[in-house]
Structures are given as C-alpha cells and as structure tokens.
C-alpha cells in the first residue's frame, strides 16, 4: 500500500535481502514481467536464449537511461516531455561539431552532455521561475530542442564515429557487458541509492507529496526542482551518446516519441503521475516490460502496429491493477 514511499519499506530494511530492497514497491510489475517472459518462452523458441537476453538489454539501454531521469521528475509531481528532443539535440551536437567545425570528438562528447543539461535547466527555470505547468514548459523545450537538432545540419544525419566510440556499444566484456549497458546499470544503481539513502532523494518524495508541506519543512523546493530537470536533461544527453554509439550515426529525428515510452515505463513501474510515489526498481522493471514486449512480439511475428495497440493496453492494465492494489 505505502510500500513505494520510502520509510515504510526502509523500516524493515535490515531484515530484507538486497533483492527485496531493490524491488520494493514493484512486486506487481515484476510478476507481470515474469509472466511475459514465461509466455514468450513458450510461444517462441528463440526468446529464452542468452543471446536474445543480451539483445533485449541492448535495446532498452537508451529508454532505460531516459526513464531514470523521468522517475525523478515524476516523483516530484512533474513531467518531462522534452527528453526525446533533447536526446536528438545532443546526438546532433555530438556529430555536427566535429564534422562542420572540426571540434575534437572528446570535446563534442562533453558538449553533447552539457547541451542536454542546458535544456534541462531551461525546463527547470520555466517551471520554477516562470511558474509554467511542467507539461507546458517541457512541451516548449520539446519543440525548441527538436528544431535546433534539425537546424544544426539542415535535417541531415551525421555518419561515422571513431571506432573506440562505437565499440562502447558493441564489444561485450566478460561475454555480456558492453560499456553502454554497464553505464546504464551504474546509473540505475546510483539513482536507486540516491532516492533511497540520500536526504535529498527523500526530499523529492516530499515535494511530490505536497510542495508547500515540503517548503514549510525547510526543503529548498525550487532549487531541487531545477536540479531534477537538469538531471533529466543530462541523462537524455548520456542516452544520446549510447544511441549514437549503437547506430554509429546521429539523426535529428532520433528519439521521436521516446518521452512517452519513458513516461510509460515509469508509470508501469508503479509511479504516480500525481507525484510522491515511484522508484528506480519499479522503473527498471517497467523498462524491461516494454523491452521484453517489443522483443517477444517481434519474435512471435506480431506486426509493429499491433504491438502499439498491445503496449497501450499493457499501460492501462498495469496502472489499473496498481490503483486497485493501493486501495
């Protein structure tokens, strides 16, 4: 019931295994994920193989990194519609600066992340200073960032990155772990620790619960809100690096609609769009559900259009079940 708020579960922390703690509040979605895996294992011979598992993990990295940032935003009661566009802008900054201006690749890599953070900062300032509703604020940035991404090269894609960069996504260390997947795992773990064991992370839940209560309790609500949007932007920048590395190219149309997938993943993972409830464990499960669904349906040969229908239904079912479970 209250398991996805912080202390209720932390209350019995010492007696629970790390797995139980990681998955706090996401048991429902986890069961869903397991059922999906069982169904696809039966209906497809390829699904249950190490290779396919690695495929799924590779495929979800970009969405997963976006969803981590979205988790923070949704916990404080906000929404970030701009992450898909920010991802595209960062992708373009990465490819365009070295191509057209001869900027060293290492520098453009940093600048791509900074561009993401800057977009997040604009989001944060629009929400806290201009007092725009997050939906509107991030909608404007969504449009502006997409426009800028197209402006860089006039809509053209940039192809060809250094070998070491593309290898980040392709070479698997220890037989399974590519650098990009490792980064996702590290980021997810850091996010989990932050939201669970840092006072600041806890404060995000309070802000989402009721910003005025949080403010009167001494939490710097405006400042934290700005940082959460900045974090979401920076993560979109990192996701851009992963995507560019995987595709060995940058496209201004990258990440179209990713913001909605990220929101879906967070919500499937048990977060509440009214704020104050959610967590990294749930989000990761939500991301996996979306990833496994796409992968499994592909393997079974379901058309992409029907996949969209099915994913829409999954969101409705997941949130409805969650709602009843909370009552």
């Amino acid at each position: 019931m209250s398991s996805s708020t912080f202390v209720a579960s932390a209350g019995s922390d010492s007696r629970r295994s790390i797995w139980a703690r990681l998955l706090t509040g996401s048991q429902g979605p986890l069961i869903g994920l397991i059922i999906l895996c069982i169904v696809f294992s039966v209906t497809s011979d390829v699904f249950l193989s190490a290779r396919n598992f690695l495929n799924v993990i590779d495929q979800i990295t970009v969405l997963g990194i976006l969803a981590l940032g979205m988790t923070g935003v949704i916990i404080i009661g906000g929404i970030d519609l701009s992450v898909g566009s920010i991802l595209a802008l960062s992708c373009m900054v990465l490819g365009w600066l070295p191509q057209d201006y001869g900027v060293p690749f290492g520098v453009s890599l940093i600048l791509a992340i900074i561009a993401g953070g800057a977009c997040g900062l604009v989001n944060g300032l629009l929400v806290t200073r201009a007092k725009l509703p997050p939906f509107i604020a991030t909608l404007t940035v969504m449009s502006v960032a997409r426009g800028l991404a197209n402006l860089t090269t006039g809509g053209e894609q940039v192809v060809g990155y250094p070998d070491w960069f593309t290898r980040l996504a392709t070479v698997r260390y220890l037989g399974f772990l590519s650098a990009t997947v490792a980064m996702f795992i590290v980021l997810a773990f850091a996010g989990w620790i932050f939201l669970r064991y840092r006072g600041t992370g806890r404060s995000l839940y309070a802000i989402g619960g009721n910003p005025e209560v949080a403010r009167l309790a001494g939490i710097k609500v405006l400042r934290l809100t700005v940082w959460v949007y900045v974090a979401s932007g920076v993560l979109a920048g990192l996701a851009a690096l992963v995507l560019s590395s995987r595709l060995d190219s940058s496209q201004p149309s990258a990440g179209l609609g990713y913001e909605l997938d990220a929101i879906a993943a967070v919500v499937i993972g048990g977060a509440s769009l009214s704020g104050g409830i959610g967590g990294i464990g749930g989000t990761v499960v939500g991301v996996l559900i979306i990833g496994v669904l796409h992968n499994g349906l592909n393997l079974v040969g379901v058309s992409p259009f029907i996949q969209q229908v099915i994913i829409g239904c999954v969101i409705a079912v997941a949130v409805t079940i969650d709602k009843f479970r909370r009552q």
Partner: protein, 510 residues
C-alpha cells in the same frame, strides 16, 4: 447515564405539544465494512426549530446527516418526512423533498457566477436556451432575502468564504428546502460573519424553516440551538430540550468522561527574552508595524478575527512569507530570513493552520512525516540511515503519545494525531521558538486537551511558544499574554489578568 434519562424524560412532554414534526428518524443504523458508526439513533426536527448535533469527530454526526440528505443509505431504521415515509435514493431525491445539506467544505464551482451556481443542474430554460434573465432575477431575490448586496453575475472564485457559504444557502432556498443541514458552518467565519449567519438562521426559523446544526463550538450552540442532541461513538448519549446546558455537562456527554480542566496549568515565564520582532511589515500588505517580544517559557497568544493578518504575520516570522520591513531577533541576534529553511535552522518553527495542505503528507507514512524537517539529523553528510529513521519515528510516536504506527499512512490518523505528528517533527529539533497557528482546528475536544498539554509542556521546557487561534477560549486558556490584531494592525497586548472575552473582542473589532 441517569442524568441522561432524566433529560430525555424532560423532553418528552414537550414533544406532545410544540409545532408539527417535520422530520423524524427512528433507529437509524449504519456500519462501514463491519464497523458500526451509528447505532439505533433517533432524531426529531420540528418546524421552525434548530437542533444542534454535537459530538466528537467520528461520533456519527456526519453519517447521520448524510443519511438524512440521501448521500448514504442506512442499514436499518426509518424516517418520516412531513408525515410521509421517507427513504431518499440520492442527494437529488432528498433535495426534491426539501432537504438541503450545506457542507463544511464548499461544493461550489469557482469559475461560474453566483446565479449559475445556484441553478447548476437545473438551469431554467426558455425556448431551448438558458433563461439567464430569470436565473439572475431569482438568484438575486434569494441573495436579497439573505441581506446580501452582491450581483448574481459575480464569479464565485472572487467571493470570500463567508459569502460563498451564503451562496450555498441561497441555492438551498431556491431549491425550496425546508430543512437545512449546516455542517460546521462557522469553521471559516469571522465574528461579524458568524453574527450575520445567526441572524439569517433566526429569521428563516421565524419563517418556519428547520435546521440541523453541526458544530464543535459550544458557545455557538448555546446561542443558536433550540435543542441539543449529543452523539458519541455512534450512539445518542444525551438529548437536552434547551440549549442552556452547562458547558462541562456537554463536554462530559461528548467525551464520556470528566474533563476537569480542558486547559493545563502553565508555569510563569522566565525573564530571558527569546524572540523579538520590531516594526514588521508584510510584503503583501497583510500587516504593518508589529512589534512584540516573547520570553523563555512564555505562551504568547495572538487573537483577532479572520482576515486580521495573524496567519500572515506568523508565516513571515517563520520565513514562509516575505517581509518588506522590520527585524526578527532571536536570542539577541537579528535574523536574515530568506525562507522557511533559514528560520528552521535558526530555531523558529511553524505548525501551520492548514494541516492537510501545509503540515502533513497524507499519502506518506508517519515515520516519513516525522523525518521530514529532521533529515539533517538522521544520518551523516546527507545520507539517511533507515534504521535511525525508524527508531526516530518510534521514539517521537512515544514521546507525544501519537496513536499510530511508523509505517502507517498519515491519512489514516485522526486529525488530533496528525497534528501531533506535525508538532513532534518540530519538537524533535528542540527549537527556540515554536509557532502554532490554529493548533486545534477541526480536532476533537478530547484530543484538544492532549494538544494543550503538549503546548504547556513545550513552554515549561523553556521554548517561546506563539499560539494563534480564532477560538478565543483557547487563547485565553493558554496564553500568558495575548496580542490582538485587527486589519493588520496591532491593537494591544493584554496580560493574562486583563484578558477576557470582552476586552479581546473590543480590541479585535475596534
């Protein structure tokens, strides 16, 4: 119990005569998921009569009125309305019979006009179009009847709470209601507004309207009611055929035990000055030129009618609102207040008036709520130690006698216990100054005594305590000194010896 029987027998002969009975409820019973909340309650309301329904939260008052108003269905029992058997199927059904329920929380549509609100759901039509002329005319007729000089085209959002309530009453009157159920109607009203409401009730009573009046405020009930029915734990425990019942008798009925003293003994303050404010002026113009000092162990009351600027003043001292002039000095050091966080770190904390909107996170656990505001003290370097959070929650629950578990969601606690959680959060920091704005609003008599006990305890421990309250009895019962505000100005500071109802009200309305 004997006294109670005597009361009932006293009222019996009167029932034979009197004006005709409008509504009678017999043996009303209701249980929610197995828990009985109303047991065989009888209630009679006559024409032109105000029956006060008294009881603590959870006593069954709202359940009973909801049954009468068709909001919920009784499990057992029967009702007779104007001589006919009456079982309302819905609130709409009750309204069409002539029963109007006016809620504690306003149920108006803020972005529609008064006229639209009065007629919402049954807009008068003419030739397929809304007959706005008729709507305005009939609405303004009812407004005039209530002595209100406002245009029916006014947006409800722009009205004060009191005026909104009058719109609700006007709405009920256009619905031809003959019985009005008023649930805590004065909770948000100032003295003048209350007086006006009572005058209206008095007049409507003359015209034969009947009222069921639900309130916590005993002195109001003495003024307005013809009879008093007291509920406790879902049972009718007393029925008084007159409103002139001693207050301690009513308290005993409500709580079921003797409350010897609602207010605890408070010790004399120590001479050391803790908080001093000089020439405070609000950035929004809510108050100006406020200066006072509070000493160690002192309870400093702030009284005044609603809108006098009390809440704005204490919020500014606690850093929640901006000051445009003046200084706040704590232990001899002038503070630069930039937000609640600076005030909290300096040692000034605020228990805000709107508990649910500003004090507590309803969806979060009790331990969560207690940790809020104390996170800097529950771990090192920004880390939070879950074991400490749990242990801290448990300790504060024990210290303030909160009825609840650390892992329980705050929404399931009673108002009194929620308030204790908010107080406990701050007490844990051992602040120098604690400001409590309307500390017992909407809280039961029994729980109120416990909160007063806590306040006295805090003062005893050496804190400077500031209490803001609309409940005059509360300010006078607790405070060593009382400052009275009117229209944002400081009207005077009264010592405990001088402070009484008359003196305070004279300043507050002067």
């Amino acid at each position: 119990m004997c006294a109670l029987m005597a009361d009932q027998s006293l009222s019996r002969p009167r029932r034979m005569e009197g004006p005709p009975v409008r509504l009678s409820v017999t043996g009303a019973r209701k249980a929610f998921s197995g828990t009985p909340v109303l047991n065989d309650v009888d209630l009679t309301v006559r024409e032109g009569e105000v029956v006060a329904l008294l009881g603590e939260n959870g006593a069954g008052k709202s359940t009973l009125s909801s049954i009468i108003a068709g909001v919920i269905e009784a499990d057992a029992g029967s009702m007779v309305w104007e001589g006919q058997s009456y079982t309302p199927a819905s609130p709409g059904d009750a309204i069409s019979h002539g029963i109007g329920l006016i809620h504690q929380e306003m149920r108006l549509l803020p972005d529609l006009t008064i006229a639209e609100n009065v007629f919402v759901g049954r807009l008068p039509m003419a030739g397929g179009r809304i007959d706005r002329e008729q709507m305005r005319q009939r609405a303004s007729e009812q407004l005039r009847r209530l002595g209100l000089e406002i245009s029916p085209d006014t947006l409800v959002r722009s009205l004060r709470v009191a005026a909104q309530q009058q719109v609700e009453i006007a709405k009920a009157l256009t619905l031809k209601a003959r019985l009005l159920i008023l649930d805590e109607p004065t909770a948000a009203l100032g003295r003048d507004e209350t007086d006006r409401l009572f005058a209206q009730i008095g007049q409507l009573k003359q015209e034969g309207f009947s009222f069921i009046y639900i309130s916590h405020r005993l002195e109001e009930i003495a003024r307005i009611a013809d009879r008093i029915v007291v509920l406790r734990d879902g049972n009718k425990v007393a029925e008084h055929s007159t409103a002139q019942v001693p207050v301690d008798q009513l308290l005993r009925d409500m709580v079921g035990r003797n409350i010897d003293r609602l207010f605890p003994h408070v010790e004399a303050p120590r001479p050391r000055e803790v908080l001093r404010v000089d020439g405070l002026r609000s950035a929004e113009g809510a108050f100006a030129d406020i200066s006072f000092a509070v000493h160690e162990g002192e309870i400093f009351g702030i009284a005044g009618i609603v809108g006098a600027g009390r809440t704005e003043l204490v919020r500014s001292i606690a850093g929640a609102d901006l000051l445009s002039a003046g200084t706040v000095t704590l232990d001899g050091k002038a503070l630069r207040l930039t937000g609640p966080d600076t005030a909290i770190h300096a040692g000034i904390v605020l228990v805000p008036e709107d508990r649910k909107g500003q004090g507590i996170l309803l969806e979060h656990t009790v331990a969560d709520n207690l940790a809020l505001g104390n996170m800097d003290r529950l771990g090192k370097r920004g880390w939070l130690d879950p074991a400490k959070v749990r242990e801290f929650g448990q300790r504060m629950i024990g210290r303030l006698g909160i009825k609840g578990r650390p892992g329980q969601q705050a929404r399931y606690l009673s108002g009194g216990n929620q308030q204790k959680v908010v107080i406990a959060r701050w007490v844990a920091r051992a602040p120098k100054v604690i400001i409590l704005d309307e500390p017992t609003r909407g809280i039961d008599v029994g729980a109120r005594a416990a909160i007063y006990e806590v306040i006295a305890e805090l003062a005893k421990s050496g804190m400077a305590v500031v209490v803001v309250s609309s409940d005059l009895e509360e300010v006078l019962g607790l405070a060593h000194r009382v400052m009275v505000l009117a229209r944002g100005r400081q009207m005077g500071v009264l010592d405990r010896a001088q402070a009484n109802n008359v003196a305070v009200m004279a300043l507050a309305t002067g």
